[in-house]
Subunit: 215 residues, 2 copies
């Protein structure tokens, strides 16, 4: 049986980007359906009735929701190529911990940078840089987060890289000045076709964010 | 080498309870260290510098944090007994999805029931019951969430059962009247020694919550 794989997607979403990168790493062919998030399709509402959010991966008719859960699913189903999670249980736990940290701390801080102003924006900027510095500490001198090979935590974080230009422009700071090693890592990731072809254009993200906040 | 396993715990925490149940299911012996959350130990701050929260499992000196990540770690390390996550990738993804739903929706709603008053409390109660009904739908007519055997999602939810008496008393409602099948499931879980010996006494939880909110 040929697998039928459909991704309910939105081009600028860092969460959807994670799934695109994971599928590209595994060489899985899929149909991409771009959602209009201001007018969601009945398919999206039917496939993710709980959260009504993209991304949703529909594999042979069955929906899988929540980006980090989808990436783990992709890793478990297409296991013969490009393992994403480390094999050691402790390293797996660490990767899951930092991916969860990205969603709980980095994402929340990042929204404040472009979605608020004044003191709240300043607080968001501070939290964002602090979170990045923690992640840079976890990276250390390794080429990728899990060591020599690109994996789960790299995917969880690199998906935000498309948004860095928007964060920096709204927040008036330089990520490279704050976290040079992390930017080296991001550039290393961008040399992979799975990443460069999956990430949105930073300028286009910035222009869209600008229009969303009505500037 | 004998494993050295230490749990940084707090008796009433549903998150710590998950780890207690998982370790009991696996038959892992461990040292339990009760934390004073109002005066956290230097060990806790050292082992979980990011979130500074219990539970932390310290396995041979290495810390693992965040309850659902710890339960998966326990399942992966002590894999010869009582498998907790289903073996099928799709069922694994579903279990992870609903466990994440518990933390994102059920927990947040539950805090409003005892932590707020008036309209916000009413909203919390409504969200809590809606979330439980969704979970009851996912349970269906199965004995446990993953089917015939007790597992990951059962652990994720049963840890809240100690708090039901407090929620019901603060919110003036009956979970059994709203979700009778879910209460049958909870009573089934309570017949397991791993659960009954790990869950806090509901009356003691209620009394403590009452003192925390200063009633």
């Amino acid at each position: 049986m040929v697998d039928e794989v459909v991704l309910l997607d939105f081009w600028a979403s860092m969460f959807a980007t994670r799934v695109r990168v994971a599928l590209a790493e595994k060489g899985v062919k899929y149909e991409n359906r771009e959602e209009d998030l201001w007018n969601k399709s009945s398919l999206l509402l039917q496939m993710n009735p709980v959260h009504k959010k993209i991304p949703v991966l529909i594999h042979n008719g069955k929906p899988i929701c929540e980006s980090l859960i989808i990436v783990q699913y992709v890793d478990e189903v297409w296991r013969d190529k490009a393992p994403l999670l480390p094999s050691d249980p402790y390293q797996r736990a660490r990767s899951r911990f930092w991916a969860d940290f990205i969603d709980k701390k980095l994402y929340v801080a990042s929204r404040k940078i472009w979605g608020t102003k004044g003191e709240e924006q300043e607080a968001g900027k501070k939290e964002f840089i602090e979170a990045l510095k923690r992640l840079e500490g976890e990276l250390g001198d390794k080429p990728y987060f899990e060591g020599e090979s690109f994996g789960f935590l790299d995917i969880a974080l690199i998906s935000f890289y498309s948004w860095f230009y928007a964060y920096e422009t709204f927040g008036n700071f330089s990520t490279e000045a704050e976290c040079p090693k992390l930017i080296e890592w991001a550039k290393r990731c961008m040399q992979r076709e799975s990443v460069s072809k999956s990430l949105a254009d930073p300028k286009k993200v910035y222009e869209s964010v600008t229009s969303w906040v009505g500037l």
